[in-house]
């Protein structure tokens, strides 16, 4: 039953997104950036979801260190992985948008650099988990690293802002007008993306539970 609800919710989220593509394609051009601006409809909700995931990962990691309850560990890995997938999409869509508006794929400005560092940190988190066998140790070390990573992100953002204000800026936010009737589509995409993220996290959580069941079955098999 729980599975079916999850799948239905996931399909609903994807349907909203698909329907919105059609609606967004019909919207008029944005005054300064033209059609390419519409990537923002995907790009920004993606980042919103990724940032929500990062905050949730911090809470889950602290929760694990305080309670030593493995549900928090499962939650932490689930949100980090989904957040990393969203971050990847955010980076790629942003890069494509930049190629059209700025004329370059990548620039070392504050947001892009800090996003890339963020991506590297959370990818490192997942690799660290892969390298540790023992479950308690894995959960503890991963939680510690996750806290370190989360603290790092605001420092990176500020430091790179200073770094870039000292240099001439090659490009900057071109600034766009955002008509009010676009906002509805934007918000729908936001809702759909968050819903999709929640479904993915729930699926990932169940997989983590299954993994633990496998481990305990293995132990009983050994004990016999």
């Amino acid at each position: 039953m729980r599975e079916k609800i999850l799948y239905v919710l996931g399909i609903v989220a994807l349907l909203i997104l698909a329907w919105n593509i059609n609606a967004i394609a019909r919207l008029p051009e944005e005054t300064q950036q033209g059609v390419t601006f519409k990537i923002i409809f995907f790009h920004v909700p993606m980042w919103a979801a990724a940032m929500t995931a990062a905050c949730a990962a911090l809470l889950a990691s602290v929760g694990f260190l305080v309670t030593k309850n493995f549900r928090f560990d499962a939650a932490a890995v689930a949100v980090t992985e989904v957040g990393l997938a969203f971050t990847t999409v955010g980076l790629v869509t942003g890069s494509i948008w930049g190629r059209e508006i700025w004329g370059i794929w990548w620039t070392w400005d504050a947001r892009l650099t800090s996003a890339l560092v963020c991506w590297l940190l959370y990818a490192g988190y997942l690799m660290l988990r892969k390298a540790i066998e023992e479950p308690t140790q894995r959960a503890t070390f991963a939680a510690v690293f996750s806290i370190f990573a989360f603290i790092d992100v605001p420092i990176v953002v500020f430091s790179i802002k200073w770094w870039r204000t000292q240099h001439p800026q090659p490009v900057f936010w071109a600034g766009g007008s955002f008509p009010p009737d676009w906002t509805t589509h934007f918000l729908w995409n936001m809702v759909a993306m968050l819903l999709f993220g929640i479904v993915m996290v729930a699926v990932r959580l169940r997989q983590e539970e299954a993994q633990r069941e496998i481990d305990s079955l293995r132990r009983t098999a050994h004990a016999q």
């Binding site: 033209g34 390419t36 519409k38 999409v89 999709f196 993915m200 098999a221």
Partner: protein, 64 residues
């Protein structure tokens, strides 16, 4: 004369639009492709886990 410049304007507008739509479609395709790959990875892992549980359960049954 006026007509010719108008046509030229229209053609260049259409070209610009096409170029922009091209990039819009790249962006959307990339976003969807990454998400689909992630979902597929999730499905593959789900299958692997289910198979593993089933085989372990069968093994335990056998031993009993």
């Amino acid at each position: 004369m006026n007509v010719i410049s108008l046509v030229a304007q229209l053609v260049s507008d259409a070209e610009r639009l096409q170029h922009q739509y091209e990039f819009l479609s790249y962006g959307l395709t990339a976003a969807w492709v990454i998400l689909v790959i992630y979902v597929l990875m999730m499905v593959a892992r789900e299958r692997k886990l289910k198979r593993e549980i089933a085989s372990l359960r069968a093994m335990l049954e056998e031993r009993r």
